[in-house]
């Protein structure tokens, strides 16, 4: 019995280890995707330029690339092997160490194929034509693990309510069944402990000798982590257990009531205008915002003229999910109080968009210096998957008399493309301090909190039917399905001055024929971080309709005197092109939405940013 438990824990250890690798790989992939996206944009521009030229009337005697007139005897031009256009000698690029050349556009095309790895995917497609282009084993494993873990590890979070309402949905066991064969390796790895153990003994006949296996087995559970390609020796493992209450935890966990922000002064409460003016739906940029920002910035502050630099390093340990910001020093800071030549600086950080007090980390205060040395490490527990949506905000402040604060400058670093693998990225680095970023930078929509939902497209026939449903007209009754949505909860909402809300969620599904299906959740009273766990079921919709549809989810604060409810924020899900040009968070939710549509009968969890 004891031995079994031991084996089981070994299994878990293995899973942990492999997961770490998968997450590290995920960041490498994110960075690579970003790089490729840029390259592709670049080529597209080049193509457009080329297109103009091609569309011009074709002249036999001019260079297809620069339009230079070609001579009859001298500079006659030659035909490019790539595109068969005649080009002048200026518009040729010679390939390395050869006499062969291509015209400038063909060369760039070739270049991009090399840089993006496209050549490999094209070659590979010859053998595996059905393989998704850039799909990697790691991505697949991670995906199926995340799905599996939702089903088998996390207790059934969507309440029975949703399960019964989605009558067409197969039970959990069936869902599990669908995974069989979907990804053999995950099945082997994470699911069947029993068969796994059998395999272990069977495998000894294969390419490995018994002797080796026996020898390596026991050692596995001991020191293997030492050799993982991690750079985490400095990380204190205990920090993992002492998790700060953190927005980065999955929202569907039952979280303790969010503490109300203690900063608001009494006068705010008494002098606040009547609710119907303050909380009217249209009012978004007025006094509410200022209440909110006052909360997060701990009262009033003054601005100094920003000067100087700050030195820090960013590290992430994939093993413990710990993000470490090592604040080393600042130099040439502005004086917090210019006249008195006084400066008592400290550093404060947030992982935006979280500006809650739980998300704040601060260093100690240094006295009477504009070149302070801190040498402090501030830590967060962040899921690797969450990193990409975060920005690190590092700001420097002066504490004056009567705890008056003066802003001395800040740096904002998006973590989406931060290469945590690259050791040079982990080194200390000086960053120039900047003035306070505009509240809403151009193109970056305001963030009014986060809404966690879980969605599933229920089709009667399971995944196999999807193909038909996609190809058919979509009108056969057999392909009619329903969209199940569980509104789990929301965080970081713009609370009332007493720190609470009476909130509810509205869902509106707009079908291609402009028909609107509306649903509403019950009101949850007196909560800052409501957990509705309410399910919306949109019945009788086909996958093809949904692909053209858009789903709008809005969060509201119920009006106290019933005048008008206050809109707290909303998010839109749609697979159509966003006319406004998608921001990153938009395109992310678009991807998630597409995942819902393309994996029927499976739950997909999403965290939507409210705008």
């Amino acid at each position: 019995m004891a031995e079994e438990a031991n084996l089981h824990s070994l299994q878990e250890l293995e899973r942990e280890e492999i997961l770490q690798v998968l997450y590290r790989d995920q960041t490498v992939r994110n960075i690579e995707e970003e790089r490729i996206r840029k390259l592709k944009i670049h080529l597209q521009h080049l193509r457009w330029k080329g297109a103009k030229r091609v569309s011009q009337e074709y002249k036999e005697k001019s260079c297809a690339r620069c339009q230079r007139i070609l001579g009859l005897l001298l500079n006659r031009g030659a035909v490019c092997q790539g595109c068969s256009h005649r080009v002048c000698s200026e518009c040729r690029v010679f390939l390395r160490r050869t006499q062969a050349w291509k015209c400038t556009v063909c060369f760039e095309d070739r270049n991009v194929k090399i840089k993006t790895g496209e050549w490999f995917f094209e070659e590979r497609a010859k053998k595996f034509p059905t393989e998704g282009k850039r799909e990697t084993a790691g991505a697949k494993l991670l995906q199926s693990y995340q799905k599996l873990s939702k089903i088998s590890v996390v207790p059934p979070t969507p309440p029975p309510l949703s399960e019964s309402q989605c009558s067409g949905s197969p039970g959990r066991l069936q869902e599990l069944g669908q995974f069989k064969g979907f990804n053999k390796s995950m099945e082997n790895l994470f699911l069947s402990v029993a068969t796994h153990m059998k395999k272990l003994s069977k495998s000894q006949n294969d390419m490995t000798s018994d002797k080796q296996l026996l020898a390596t087995g026991p050692r596995q559970c001991t020191g293997q982590s030492e050799r993982r390609s991690q750079s985490d020796t400095a990380i204190n493992v205990t920090t993992r257990k002492v998790r700060a209450p953190d927005i980065l935890k999955p929202l569907n966990q039952e979280s303790p009531k969010c503490p109300t922000n203690p900063v608001l002064k009494q006068e705010d409460l008494s002098s606040s205008p009547p609710p119907n003016t303050l909380f009217s739906g249209g009012l978004r940029h007025g006094s509410l915002i200022s209440i909110n920002s006052t909360c997060t910035e701990m009262g009033n502050f003054d601005n100094a003229n920003v000067t100087g630099e700050i030195e820090f390093a960013i590290r992430y340990c994939f093993k413990t999910h710990s993000l470490e910001i090592c604040i080393k020093a600042c130099k040439n800071l502005a004086y917090g109080e210019e006249k008195k030549k006084k400066c008592n600086p400290y550093v404060k950080i947030y992982l935006l968009p979280d500006k809650s007090s739980q998300g704040k980390r601060k260093t100690g205060v240094q006295r009477n210096t504009v070149d302070p040395t801190f040498q402090e490490t501030l830590k967060y527990q962040v899921d690797p998957a969450q990193l990409v949506s975060r920005q690190l905000q590092v700001s420097v402040w002066h504490v004056g008399m009567l705890t008056r604060r003066v802003f001395l400058g800040e740096v904002i670093i998006p973590l989406a493309t931060w290469d945590f693998e690259d050791s040079t990225m982990q080194s200390f680095c000086w960053y120039p301090l900047g003035a306070k970023a505009e509240k809403y930078e151009d193109g970056v929509p305001p963030n009014y909190g986060e809404l966690a939902v879980r969605a599933k497209l229920v089709l009667p026939g399971g995944p196999r039917k999807l193909q038909e449903a996609q190809e058919g007209t979509g009108d056969q009754p057999s392909s009619n399905g329903q969209l199940c949505l569980v509104v789990l909860g929301a965080k970081n909402l713009r609370v009332r001055s007493d720190g609470t809300l009476n909130s509810f969620v509205k869902g509106c599904l707009t079908l291609p024929d402009q028909q609107k299906l509306r649903l509403k959740s019950p009101v949850l009273k007196k909560q800052a971080c409501p957990q509705w766990k309410h399910s919306f079921v949109f019945k009788d919709v086909t996958p093809s309709q949904l692909r053209q549809a858009s789903l709008e989810l809005t969060v509201w604060d119920q009006a106290v005197f019933g005048v008008s409810d206050r809109l707290l924020g909303g998010a839109r899900l749609s697979s159509k092109e966003d006319p406004a040009g998608g921001t990153d968070s938009c395109s992310q939710s678009k991807l998630q939405w597409q995942k819902v549509l393309s994996s029927p009968n499976l739950w997909t969890d999403m965290t939507l940013i409210l705008h």
Partner: protein, 220 residues
């Protein structure tokens, strides 16, 4: 542990995308032949005599300069143990090149080379570049597989061949660099023979003829 002490390395590039392209490489072979050691020698220049068998998969990233290009290598280290086979073979498709390793002091690991190469044929793309590496060539006293046999098998399978030692740092860098070069050659070949930009007929084989590298014998 890359730590604060590296900071003198100089200012980091503001962009981490500071490379021209990325290759993915897979190291395979029986358990204990030295795959992980080989990778650690290459990426970290470290070696430890202790044996910690790899769990499933692992990888390291290393950016190198080769032919005036910065190439980012994502090198996947696979577990040799059979029980991880399903997970490791899933990675074959993503790899442009392979290092297939045996241990010159272990006959069985050499006999398994044929099977490993079949795995590559089955799970990988058709132009997979493979280097056969006989590791632990520092242990001459315990050698059971002669260089000659290694070379013959490599010829038979159409792979290039190196003998190497992760312990004494023999031919480690050379192996990776040769593999990168071979992949680069494959890349030019595939780009210049079948250029999809050609709509009509190909105008001639000149490009490929000139691209074909003189076949060097890679002695070690």
């Amino acid at each position: 542990m890359a730590s604060a002490t590296d900071s003198r390395y100089g200012q980091k590039e503001s962009s981490d995308q500071n490379f021209d392209y990325m290759f993915k490489i897979l190291i395979i072979g029986n358990s204990s032949v030295g795959k992980t050691s080989f990778l650690f020698r290459y990426a970290d220049d470290s070696f430890t005599p202790a044996f910690v068998s790899t769990v499933g998969i692992d990888f390291k990233v290393k950016t190198i300069y080769r032919n005036d290009k910065r190439i980012k290598l994502q090198i996947w280290d696979t577990a040799g143990q059979e029980r991880y086979r399903t997970i490791t073979t899933a990675y074959y498709r993503g790899a442009m090149g392979f290092i297939l390793m045996y241990d010159i002091t272990n006959e069985e690991s050499f006999n398994a080379v044929q099977d490993w190469s079949t795995q590559i044929k089955t799970y990988s793309w058709d132009n997979a570049q493979v280097l056969l590496v006989g590791n632990k060539c520092d242990m001459e006293d315990e050698r059971v597989v002669s260089s000659e046999r290694g070379r013959q098998l490599a010829d038979h399978l159409g792979f290039e061949f190196f003998e190497a030692s992760a312990k004494d740092n023999i031919n480690v860098k050379q192996t990776f660099e040769r593999l990168v070069d071979v992949i680069c050659e494959k890349m030019s070949e595939s780009l210049d023979t079948a250029d999809p930009a050609v709509t009509g007929t190909k105008q001639g084989p000149q490009l490929t003829d000139q691209q074909a590298p003189p076949h060097q014998d890679c002695a070690c």
